[in-house]
Symmetry: C2
Subunit: 136 residues, 2 copies
């Protein structure tokens, strides 16, 4: 159950499957383009506030406090819709993002591409030089 | 640090910020349409396997074992790219999804819309009847 007092509707709370520290993952996307902006964390009360205030509200794991996105940066996230996933451990939050989502100044937080070296379905490697004459 | 043996490159492992049970969130999207398909969990080794085998591999919190998406269902996820987020607690996995992503049979796992009752930027409520003459 939730660690902190919450006004979240009990029928929603009962469907959540939380991490050991009481959180669900919040995948945040721009409502019209579908761009995945960031991932944040919500406890029950953060989800309640997100559903009822129109502003995306998260739980900061590092600061251990609620965090209304944009409150200090001006990069508000106006909530358009929220969907819970099939096993209750994540919500998909569709927002209208003002400015940039990432505190680093980029539009989204996923700027750090990792090297994918596995085979692709067509048998060609993802990275490295391609054989002459084959499209990359 | 990781709880299980892993071949993940140390420079990547050093950038991860894990849940108390040693996991990062994996946001999975269809590479071309951008549709958010599901959220799953990865420990270091699941991330390593995802980066090096071409097949999305997760850690099952309920079964406490590795799980190659599609191994039993046939709904394979071929990995196109993986990006780490700015604070290291989530990866965005772009895949080519065969069939449906959700075990319930829907294309994505976010079918459970929650009621959003907060105000919108224009001051109109999201739900409930609209005043006569105003666009919905």
């Amino acid at each position: 159950g939730p660690a902190r007092p919450t006004a979240l509707a009990p029928d929603i709370a009962a469907r959540l499957r939380r991490t050991p520290d009481g959180l669900v993952a919040a995948v945040v996307r721009q409502h019209d383009t579908g761009e995945v902006l960031m991932l944040a964390w919500m406890d029950d009360e953060a989800l309640h506030r997100t559903l009822t205030t129109g502003r995306a509200t998260y739980w900061s794991r590092s600061r251990q406090e609620y965090w209304v996105k944009g409150a200090t940066s001006g990069h508000h996230q106006y909530v358009r819709s929220v969907a819970l996933d099939c096993d209750g451990d994540a919500v998909l939050v569709s927002v209208d993002q003002v400015g940039v989502a990432c505190h680093t100044g980029t539009r989204n937080c996923f700027s750090d591409e990792l090297p994918v070296t596995g085979p692709q379905p067509d048998g060609l490697p993802v990275t490295g030089p391609q054989p002459d004459g084959l499209p990359v």
